[in-house]
Assembly symmetry: C2
Homo-oligomer: 245 residues x 2
């Protein structure tokens, strides 16, 4: 058995997320089918974590175990020749069997892209969340500062399928930057809760709209209760950007 680390980019628009499911077309399943066609092996492709339906990845990472060794370059070319153009293997590398795409994660970075102008350019329609009303980026930054660090993020997660032991996470960075009509939210952590990034972004958008004052952030965190102040931001603005191992 040889273990390979794959770095994968995908446009999530046409998929029911990463994780293989009985019925829907998912990115994991499409890659596993291509792997099977290429190598003849029914190998599982284990990702660093799920991404929701419609969420994109610039740097998803997965591992696969193959019984017959393969040259990493040939794996990249062979898989890309079989995969649809909205999924690309960027890189393949042989790794020791101790490497695990989910358990070995040291830090994950997500980026959320907002187009803040009256008209959304057609080329961005799948890759940006469109907010027409001008957002107060200063207020968003102030709220983001309150959210950085170790907190109980129960108010910023959706009910997961499986309950989690703890809803406390360390949010290393939550940064709001502005570039022309674009507002980018960068979120870094060694682990996120279910729908946590989109919940943080949904909240920051509400703050930017003036619906919630940034000073209320600490109280929202302390409430540990999900309310309408924390909507889930739409998936098409979100990219799993980079994973550090």
């Amino acid at each position: 058995m040889s273990r390979y680390k794959l770095t994968i980019a995908y446009d999530g628009s046409e998929y029911a997320g990463w994780q293989a499911q009985p019925v829907d077309r998912t990115i994991q399943r499409v890659i596993e089918e291509a792997l099977c066609r290429l190598t003849g092996e029914r190998a599982g492709c284990y990702g660093s974590g799920r991404t929701d339906s419609g969420v994109h990845a610039r740097g998803q990472v997965a591992h696969v175990d193959l019984a017959r060794p393969a040259a990493p370059d040939k794996l990249v070319r062979g898989l890309n020749a079989l995969l649809p153009a909205d999924i690309r293997i960027l890189n393949a590398r042989k790794v020791p069997p101790t490497f695990h795409a989910r358990r070995s994660v040291r830090r994950k970075e997500y980026r959320y892209f907002i187009w803040n102008a009256p008209v959304l350019p057609p080329f961005y329609r799948r890759y940006r969340t469109h907010v027409r009303t001008p957002l107060n980026v200063g207020a968003m930054r102030e709220a983001a500062k309150h959210l950085e660090g170790e907190h109980d993020f129960a108010a910023f997660t959706a009910n997961p399928n499986r309950p989690v032991k703890s809803t406390t996470r360390r949010l290393e960075q939550l940064r709001v930057t502005e570039k022309g009509n674009e507002i980018i939210i960068v979120a870094r952590s060694d682990g996120f809760l279910y729908k946590m990034v989109r919940s943080l972004c949904g909240f920051l958008i509400r703050v930017g709209e003036g619906a919630v004052a940034p000073q209320e952030t600490a109280a929202v965190l302390a409430s540990r209760t999900r309310t309408a102040r924390v909507p889930t931001a739409p998936p098409q603005g979100l990219f799993l950007w980079h994973i550090r191992y």
Copy 2:
């Protein structure tokens, strides 16, 4: 009658080009249908020129005449609410009846985007031409220099449906720039022949691949004959970028 100048962006992937045709879905027709639904008027939407099937526009310009005056802002919002997300009206402005989207053009700028790396990121699959083999940008620049200025471009046009009086054009600028894995060709002229930009780009790509030497450019021009040295580059890399009036 009031005349309006519309600035339009579109993703051409799903359309049979700009120009209205009896059968196919075109950008012009979709806009005319939205205009009719919005205003109740069967107004023609006359573009600065055609774009081919699959070609995009960041700044196409068209004019429309409406019997009942409309506020430009409302025209923009009303049309965008009716149009599919891959066509956006960026701007509307009332113009004098002497303004003509095609005849008043002073300069057109096209940009052609090449992704020159082994793997094309999925987000670029509709907006870049993928060339895997490393291109010699220096050679492309040298060839481009030979093409700038006033020449008979008969070797760089496809047979148009209607013959043209003259195949001489003034190519004000043909510039090749490089930015990471991206190679961008900027072409500016007061008028291009049918498929001229894609022919110029197809030729420059062949030069970049080493299939044609840049010093042969003058001879290709002088031949005034279209041959296999001048292929038509694929449409998805091409954007009608800006029009000056």
